[in-house]
């Protein structure tokens, strides 16, 4: 069974709501405490990027459970905004890069917390970032 939930992101309360929902979903899937923290932290980083950088600070986070072909369970979070897009994905994935008032570790740090991360973006047409983590 795939469980899916969506959280509209429009402010800091929604950052908390999204990361709590991701944590609860991960807990329900049987992820341990460290993975729960990794997943909640990654969702916090990505949804904060929306509040900070997206047009009017608005976007969306979809959290869903995954079932792999080998029977493994996992969690996927798709974070979408229709903001300005990222001009140079390679650049933002570099350690220490920051375009604004961030710490420059948001995206590379998030990548390290997850098993998979995919970024779809183009200037002027928003950004969709998909992250996944699988049960060991």
């Amino acid at each position: 069974m795939v469980v899916e939930a969506s959280v509209g992101i429009a402010g800091e309360d929604d950052i908390v709501a999204a990361r709590q929902l991701a944590r609860e979903t991960a807990k329900g899937l049987g992820f341990g405490m460290v993975d729960q923290a990794r997943i909640a932290t990654a969702v916090s980083e990505l949804t904060r990027n929306i509040v900070r950088y997206a047009t009017e600070g608005r976007g969306n986070a979809v959290i869903r459970t995954l079932s792999g072909p080998d029977g493994r369970r996992g969690i996927e979070v798709v974070v979408t905004d229709d903001g300005p897009g990222i001009a140079d994905v390679e650049q933002v994935m570099q350690e220490g890069f920051t375009s604004g008032n961030g710490l420059g570790m948001g995206l590379p740090g998030t990548r390290r917390l997850m098993d998979e991360m995919d970024i779809q973006t183009a200037l002027g047409s928003g950004t969709t970032i998909t992250i996944r983590r699988w049960r060991r």
Partner: protein
């Protein structure tokens, strides 16, 4: 309800974060602690994060800011009670809590604060508070 009650114990301020902090709550924490330091002349801040389930880059930076503000106000900061899951996540995220001392629990944290204050070796505050 207070999200992070601050109590004074001798020369120390003890702040306990009781619930998940929004970004603005974290900023409030920094300001309230700074004001409490100014008001009380405390020489150390013990910040208990044992109820915190997640520290992301924003909150991590705020903790560094709290320690820097406290330092400018003549006080040391020790963060205690970081959960193992939070510690591992911080390392993977690449966050260094610069200028922030840490200790396992409040008991060890207050001992560390007392030794840091003792090492300063002199009363910083002329009124001796």
């Amino acid at each position: 309800m207070a999200r992070f009650p601050v109590i004074r114990l001798g020369r120390l301020l003890i702040a306990t974060v009781l619930e998940e902090l929004r970004d603005s709550d974290a900023v409030d924490l920094r300001e309230e602690l700074s004001e409490a330091l100014e008001k009380t002349g405390a020489l150390g801040v013990l910040l208990d994060l044992s109820a915190v389930e997640m520290v992301d880059s924003f909150l991590g930076r705020l903790l560094g800011d709290v320690a820097l503000c406290a330092q400018l106000l003549g006080a040391h900061t020790v963060v205690v009670g970081l959960r193992p899951a939070v510690a591992i996540t911080l390392v993977e995220l690449g966050l260094q809590l610069k200028g922030v001392h840490t200790a396992l629990n409040p008991e060890k944290g207050s001992a560390l604060l007392r030794s840091l204050i003792a090492r300063d070796g002199h009363a910083k505050r002329p009124n001796g508070r």
